[in-house]
């Protein structure tokens, strides 16, 4: 039965480590003058194709007040992926998310603490305000601020600086250090849950038909604090997810659920 409890998690770890390894090894390839594949998690080039991260792109659109066709086309695949699979970027792709999970696990092992804003309701408005703030500041300063402060971009560009340029820039290093201190000393996963504009925007890229967690109360026999809520790495109660909540479809709750009450399905969300 234990194998079932890690069914999705195994695939997710594979995805996370593959992405991390990819960006770690990419600079070595650049040292051999190969750049048909190049970039970081703000924008990746694969041959003639662009894969632009939507939040970084959005801040550039606000900053420059224009949206060009190439920029839109490059962002479309990532947006479509999010609209179909949900904001899997955070828990399946982002190397910072992987690090954040690891640090959270170590911290919980050493000194367990509760989630701030457990259940998620209290985070909804701050998240909306933060994303709006980032976009409006990008507009007024004419600088793509989300791209600058993007945690996935920072950590995926660190190997390029360290290995290809042989010098980590104080911008990348400094920002990552601040984020790291926040992870180690601050409220649990504060950046990922409440502050990261990349995650916030990607969380809004959902529709009623986006693949999501479905909860059937009649199949659930867990008592007050269910296993799924303990398993959730984001402080959400999987039994009460609203469509635009920050659930990143990490599927830890689905894995851990001892019954079949929680399922991951590509079907419209039953609760509005």
């Amino acid at each position: 039965m234990d194998a079932d409890r890690t069914r999705w998690t195994r695939w997710r770890r594979l995805s996370q480590f593959t992405v991390a390894l990819f960006y770690l090894l990419l600079p070595f390839v650049h040292r051999l003058d190969f750049h048909a594949v190049a970039g970081n998690l703000a924008s990746l080039r694969i041959g003639p194709l662009d894969l632009n991260e939507p939040a970084a792109t959005a801040s550039a659109v606000f900053a420059s007040r224009e949206l060009t066709w190439p920029l839109a086309i490059g962002t479309l695949p990532v947006v479509l992926l999010a609209l179909i699979l949900g904001p899997v970027f955070c828990s399946w792709v982002c190397p910072w998310g992987l690090l954040s999970e690891g640090i959270d696990r170590i911290r919980q092992h050493l000194r367990p603490s509760a989630w701030s804003a457990a259940g998620w309701q209290r985070l909804r408005r701050p998240r909306a305000l933060i994303l709006t703030g980032f976009l409006l500041l990008s507009l007024s300063s004419a600088t793509p601020l989300i791209a600058l402060f993007s945690a996935p971009r920072l950590i995926s560009t660190l190997p390029l600086e360290a290995i290809f340029l042989k010098a980590i820039s104080p911008v990348t290093g400094g920002l990552l250090l601040v984020l790291l201190l926040l992870e180690i000393l601050g409220p649990r996963r504060l950046w990922c849950r409440a502050l990261c504009p990349v995650g916030i925007l990607n969380g809004y890229l959902r529709t009623r038909r986006t693949a999501s967690i479905h909860f059937s109360a009649d199949r659930c026999y867990c008592p007050h604090t269910p296993i799924c809520q303990t398993a959730c790495g984001w402080g959400i109660d999987p039994r009460h997810i609203l469509t635009f909540d920050g659930c990143t479809n990490c599927l830890a709750c689905v894995d851990q659920c001892p019954s079949t009450a929680l399922r991951f399905q590509l079907k419209p969300h039953s609760i509005a």
């Binding site: 190049a38 792109t57 420059s64 490059g74 911008v171």
Partner: protein, 166 residues
């Protein structure tokens, strides 16, 4: 003396940077650069470096420090920019990163010493820079601002500098 306090503050922090070849005018460039690092990754010469905090909100954008490593006009970077902050340029002669300016107080040739290093090393020798009748370097409109002259100048701190186009 400028009327815009933001510009004044910026000038206090760091001089405007020299941008990659094909870069849009400074303000547009800064509004589009999403710090994807693709241009930096493509530069085999390591010319392009990320801007530091002294450049304030331009932190992380690619710049050229000509005295350290100039641009050799290989033009690998423009096709890689996803936002169009760096435009593709067909002919490297049309690049306008900036313009070289000679400092007559530091230039050896201006002091009567026989030096023609900048003229010799310029990729557009004769067109972008030439020696006048008194063997002093003269920069023309054809200068692309690559910075090779600034790199090779034998004067202790270079006697020829690129003033970036803004």
């Amino acid at each position: 003396m400028t009327s815009d306090w933001r510009t004044w503050l910026r000038q206090l922090c760091a001089p405007p940077p020299l941008r990659p070849p094909g870069a849009l005018p400074e303000q547009e460039f800064n509004s589009l650069c999403i710090r994807c690092g693709r241009c930096i990754a493509a530069c085999s010469y390591r010319t392009l470096q990320p801007a530091g905090w002294e450049h304030a909100s331009k932190a992380g954008t690619p710049l050229v420090e000509a005295r350290k490593i100039p641009c050799y006009l290989c033009m690998a970077c423009p096709p890689l920019c996803p936002t169009g902050a760096i435009e593709e340029i067909a002919d490297s002669r049309q690049v306008r990163m900036g313009v070289a300016e000679v400092d007559p107080t530091a230039c050896y040739a201006h002091r009567g010493i026989l030096c023609r290093t900048c003229v010799d090393e310029c990729p557009f020798e004769g067109d972008a820079i030439y020696q006048d009748s008194q063997l002093r370097p003269v920069v023309t409109d054809a200068c692309v601002g690559c910075g090779i002259c600034e790199r090779v100048c034998p004067a202790e701190s270079a006697a020829i500098h690129i003033r970036p186009h803004l």
